[in-house]
């Protein structure tokens, strides 16, 4: 097998699996922080139970996120040695910041959150929860900066030997491209968090357990989910689209399945791109919308794929379908949550089982939308590993055979399968125990007692 393909498969598989867990930790961290804070402030017993419940779910996700994240950090060096050599001085800056300013914060304070022996949250636990949340969000931001730079390189120069030199770190960190991409990604994760909270709440209501807490979950989850489902489209999705139009026009053409350049380009809602005929089959068009979305002008000329050399095309079908899955789901999310919020404010939501079913069943779909978005972004960037500077084929490690990569890919697949099963088992168990069940359920016995002053 071509080593490049093996490396790409391995990277795609491991990073897509890793990302499943940050979605939930980034999305749930604000809920953990708010509930813990409230419980510490008011001393309310129910809120304290809720806080502990989400902390436990968060902790399982966090553990899985950490163990799948560490291989990512090594993989740049193991699989993409030439890429790392050339771009390390630049791309590793945000990675170093992520470790120093985000991972430490998250890990150190999670220790307090999980292992404090008091039952009721104190202000110390409340602050820890806030810092853990800050760490999760900051790590999302820094890693996206690295990715954004690969999509749209800024603040660099190229040395005679080909190494990429850092010229302006602020330009890298705060390029509008990176800021909008971060905003979109973090909103996508928070959206998933809202959907999870609402979905589990709906499950508790439908199964007639914990009606009181179920209502609180549905209420909070619906509001967060609704606001995010708006923000994910406008302004963040819209701005992402404009950035792609400006800086990665080939990706835009592939996303939209636009083969011929057109003035007043239409938006294809449905259709199958066919690269053997270089055309979109059985499309349904909405006239002029693409020109408006991309340039804010109904008559703007949008370049199609045929305007570019074939060697510069990303895999068109995958990019196109992934994009349509993401946008399609985004539209559905907005619709369903708009109705849910409407019902909520009319006090009807809890008596419409159909709506609760919808909220519960919608839970996995933000994951699909988020992963599909990444496929758009990363597959659509091909054939470049760093847009316009370095091709993916040039980036791989010269001294690692594809056999080794395949062997380790199979190893990762095996481990991740087991990890996935364990993860589901533990999360489903926590959900089955529920916030109130925690007291009675046989929590692992803790025969331990702290002596001395264990702190405040």
């Amino acid at each position: 097998m071509d080593p490049v393909i093996a490396d790409r498969l391995q990277f795609a598989f491991t990073v897509m699996f890793h990302y499943l867990f940050p979605i939930a930790t980034i999305g749930l961290a604000p809920f953990v922080a708010v509930y813990t804070w409230k419980a510490a402030r008011t001393g309310d017993e129910e809120t304290a139970r809720i806080a502990r419940f989400w902390t436990r779910i968060f902790a399982i996700n966090f553990a899985a996120g950490v163990v799948t994240g560490i291989p990512m950090q090594f993989q740049f060096g193991t699989n993409w040695a030439v890429f790392s050599r050339r771009s390390g001085p630049l791309i590793a800056q945000p990675l170093a910041m992520e470790s120093m300013f985000a991972f430490f914060l998250e890990s150190v304070f999670l220790g307090i959150l999980l292992y404090r022996r008091e039952r009721a949250p104190t202000m110390l636990t409340a602050w820890s929860a806030v810092l853990v949340c800050a760490g999760a969000w900051a790590s999302g931001f820094f890693i996206i900066t690295a990715n954004a730079w690969m999509q749209h390189p800024v603040g660099y120069s190229i040395a005679p030997d080909g190494t990429i030199r850092l010229v302006n770190i602020w330009a890298v960190l705060f390029s509008p491209f990176a800021l909008w991409q971060s905003a979109h990604v973090l909103t996508g994760a928070l959206l998933a968090g809202g959907f999870i909270v609402a979905g589990i709440g709906a499950y508790y209501l439908l199964s007639q357990r914990e009606p009181q807490i179920g209502r609180r979950f549905v209420r909070a989850g619906c509001i967060v989910g609704f606001v995010c489902s708006m923000l994910i489209v406008f302004p963040t999705g819209d701005e992402n689209g404009r950035d792609v139009t400006t800086y990665e026009p080939v990706k835009l053409a592939a996303m939209e399945g636009l083969f011929a350049s057109e003035k007043g380009a239409p938006l294809a809602i449905i259709g199958m791109p066919d690269t053997s005929k270089n055309d979109l089959i059985d499309p349904i068009f909405v006239p002029q919308i693409l020109s408006i979305l991309a340039y804010g002008n109904p008559d703007a000329n949008v370049k199609g794929l045929r305007a570019y050399a074939h060697g510069l095309w990303p895999p068109v079908e995958l990019t196109y379908y992934a994009y349509h899955v993401m946008v399609g789901l985004g539209t559905i999310f907005m619709g369903v949550y708009a109705i849910a919020v409407l019902l909520l404010f009319r006090d009807r939501l809890f008596s419409v089982p159909l709506m609760l079913w919808a909220l519960m069943l919608l839970m996995p779909f933000p994951y699909i939308a988020n992963e599909a978005g990444w496929v758009v972004s990363e597959v659509g960037r091909q054939p470049w590993i760093i847009y316009g500077i370095m091709r993916t084929t040039e980036g791989v490690s010269p001294n690692v055979a594809s056999g080794e990569t395949l062997f380790t890919l199979i190893g990762f697949a095996g481990m991740y399968f087991l990890l996935g099963v364990l993860f589901l088992l533990l999360v489903l168990r926590e959900i089955a125990i529920g916030p109130s069940g925690a007291e009675q359920a046989a929590r692992p016995s803790t025969p331990l007692r702290m002596t001395g002053d264990g702190g405040a």
Partner: protein
């Protein structure tokens, strides 16, 4: 600047060994000092809140290496592809074992994860030991600076001896930590263990030091390095004295000092190479070769130094808050 970068990397890796070293050591010896399930719970609870934060020193060191010495990062990580991936799997397994063992109230579940935990932690220490041994001995590198050897080359007798030394030393470090944090049965067993392991550490220390001089020769500019064995031996002696006086906190500190002197000695020995070639004297990747632009180095140094200070500040607050002994009832 290159020297500063080298010092920062060495510092971060030393922090990693001191901190994650104790939780690796504790996990590796847990079956020896925790005879019953409750005792093991207590032993592992002592590292529970800290291990993840400790491990971030590794993640951060890797990121800093990537930023400061991309050549070395690329060459070492792709060169040792399989060993690194295996180390990764062990790290993953260990993290899972530590976190998951608490989640189901089943005895079998815990027995499985406890065994997995000790096994993967011990094997990780050995893997790191082999890596350290080969770093000291030098690596077969080709002209482009990529590793050019086989897996077997790495498992040479010298590196294996260093690995054994690492295992015993970190086991001792872990036992000292347990003594500081746990009361009751495990503490008594840890005391007995320390009593015996001390002699083993001493003998292995002498052997490894002598062999290093043989394999590597006395470093050209390294006269000051001769101070380090004196420091190491004093720390080791002080460790024993503190134990006899029943001062576990001091013993743990001395164990840390001992480890730190060893790591400083390692850094001093390979300097100015960050990836020395084998046989010694053939050069290697020097810290002065192909340094990235000064702005990149300055930025990464700023991030790591400022970051380290912040981390140490808030970590020490957390350590204080979470201090206190765990008692097995």
């Amino acid at each position: 600047m290159s020297v500063a970068a080298f010092v920062v990397i060495a510092f971060m890796l030393t922090m990693y060994v001191l901190l994650d070293g104790y939780d690796l050591g504790v996990a590796a010896i847990a079956p020896l000092i925790g005879r019953t399930e409750r005792e093991r719970d207590a032993v592992l609870a002592s590292i529970g809140p800290f291990w993840n934060g400790n491990e971030v020193w590794l993640v951060a060191s890797v990121a800093a290496l990537f930023a400061l010495f991309p050549e070395v990062y690329a060459s070492a990580f792709s060169g040792f592809y399989l060993p690194f991936v295996v180390a990764l799997w062990l790290l993953m397994f260990r993290g899972l074992a530590l976190e998951l063992r608490r989640h189901l109230p089943s005895e079998l579940w815990r027995q499985f994860w406890d065994a997995a935990l000790s096994f993967s932690s011990a094997l990780l220490i050995v893997t790191f030991g082999v890596a350290l041994g080969n770093l000291l001995r030098g690596l077969p590198l080709n002209a482009a600076g990529y590793f050019q050897g086989t897996f077997d080359d790495l498992l040479n007798p010298y590196a294996l001896l260093v690995a054994v030394f690492a295992l015993v030393t970190l086991g001792q470090h872990g036992a000292a930590f347990v003594l500081m944090r746990v009361e009751g049965g495990p503490a008594a067993l840890a005391t007995r263990l320390l009593d015996r392991s001390w002699w083993v550490v001493l003998i292995l220390y002498a052997g490894v030091t002598a062999l290093t001089l043989v394999v590597h020769g006395l470093p050209a500019r390294g006269g000051w390095l001769l101070v380090l064995p004196v420091l190491s031996l004093s720390a080791l002696t002080a460790l024993r004295v503190s134990l006899k006086q029943g001062r576990p906190g001091a013993a743990f500190t001395m164990s840390s000092v001992f480890l730190a002197t060893l790591l400083v000695a390692t850094a001093g020995t390979i300097y100015p190479y960050i990836l020395p070639a084998f046989p010694p004297g053939r050069g290697g990747i020097s810290i002065f070769a192909a340094a990235p632009s000064s702005l990149a180095v300055a930025s990464a140094l700023g991030v790591t130094i400022l970051g380290s200070i912040l981390v140490l500040l808030y970590s020490s607050v957390v350590w204080k808050r979470m201090a206190g002994k765990i008692r097995v009832e």
